[in-house]
């Protein structure tokens, strides 16, 4: 019997903090990232080993994209975008490990039936995490907008329309459009990952039921696991790239409206930046 719970399930209470299984998933992803970073910092070499290449691969992929599309100030927000990407990617892929979602405690549900409460659940299958990430992204692009535009300029950009007499009509529309960014960012990631979890659970339940009839029962969940690997990557990429796009737009709007002023206090990078990994001139 497939048991689907939209909200993350409570595991135990830690003082005022309720620890849920999706929090364990997020914690595992964070610990894996920290361990990889520690290993990478200690053993980084000019000629990368296989392990180093494995860690560098997603980072270089996204750094290349950010460098190509993020404008001249891409270095300012590249760490944030790459961190979001790697964290979401790892959180999505950890949910595909054996035992995640299938090993847990048997508890009685509200209707009296025994249900499985897994110890670990996909971190992004909890709206709290995706909403939190979307808010981080939202605050970041507002901060970059204020940094490039100044607080006054940013508020003018947000609240005052052109022509000015259209402000009462256009400002609510603009505010709704801005707010929809956060909701769509969080809902998309949550919806895709949660749907993937439900799909995998359903396929496992169906194929387990037909295990002795259909020899392909082992093969079918495998196909969906591979698909989830791809979807996990695509969703992480989309989330990170949208965050980057919003930040780029927040900075670019400044260029359109106030080309003579710059509040960021940093010089833009030269347009002819050397390619990543290319030999740097030494002085």
């Amino acid at each position: 019997m497939v048991h689907v719970e939209i909200a993350a399930e409570k595991l135990f209470q830690l003082g005022p903090l309720t620890v849920t299984n999706s929090m364990i998933g997020a914690l595992l992803a964070s610990l894996a990232l920290l361990a990889a970073a520690r290993w990478f910092v200690r053993r980084a070499a000019l000629v990368p080993s296989r392990g180093q290449s494995l860690i560098e691969l997603p980072i270089e992929l996204l750094a290349g994209i950010v460098r190509g599309t993020g404008g001249k100030r891409w270095r300012q927000f590249a760490p944030l975008v790459i961190t979001i990407f790697v964290f979401v990617l790892l959180a999505n892929w950890i949910s595909l490990l054996p035992g995640v979602g299938t090993i847990g405690l048997a508890e009685h549900g509200p209707d009296g039936k025994v249900v499985l409460v897994p110890f670990v659940r996909a971190a992004a299958a909890d709206l709290n995490l995706t909403l939190g990430l979307a808010l981080v992204s939202f605050v970041s692009f507002i901060a970059f907008g204020i940094r490039a535009n100044g607080l006054r300029g940013y508020l003018r950009e947000l609240l005052v329309a052109e022509p000015v007499y259209m402000t009462p009509l256009l400002t609510p529309i603009h505010l709704i459009s801005e707010l929809s960014r956060v909701i769509s960012l969080s809902m998309r990631l949550f919806g895709n990952v949660f749907a993937g979890e439900v799909l995998l659970a359903t396929m496992l339940a169906l194929t387990t039921a037909t295990l002795f009839i259909l020899p392909l029962a082992f093969f079918v969940p495998g196909v969906f696991l591979v698909l989830e690997l791809i979807f996990g990557f695509v969703q992480a990429l989309v989330f990170a790239l949208l965050s980057m796009t919003y930040i780029t737009l927040a900075i670019a709007e400044h260029r359109q409206h106030a080309t003579h002023e710059d509040h960021s206090g940093e010089a833009p990078e030269p347009a002819t930046a050397p390619a990543h990994g290319a030999a740097q001139p030494t002085s």
Partner: protein, 75 residues
């Protein structure tokens, strides 16, 4: 030698924006409706602000399309 950007096809960021656009249209209308519903419950003026919120949400969805198209052309 660098290639002409037009020959390189759509950029990954453009794919992401395309992924985003469909959902944002729906979310814009939902946000407008939700705000209208809350305002109506607060002021007991139903259904005035639900209608106003819905119209603003639809307008925000149109604005989003226009904004994304403008930004894409500007890139």
């Amino acid at each position: 030698m660098s290639r002409d950007p037009k020959e390189q096809g759509p950029r990954p960021a453009n794919w992401a924006v395309a992924f985003d656009l469909g959902l944002r249209l729906g979310v814009s209308v939902a946000v407008g409706l939700g705000a209208g519903l809350l305002t109506d419950n607060w002021l007991h003026t139903s259904p005035i602000f639900i209608l106003v919120g819905m119209l603003l949400g639809i307008a925000a969805a149109m604005y989003t399309i226009w904004d994304v198209a403008r930004q894409s052309m500007g890139r």
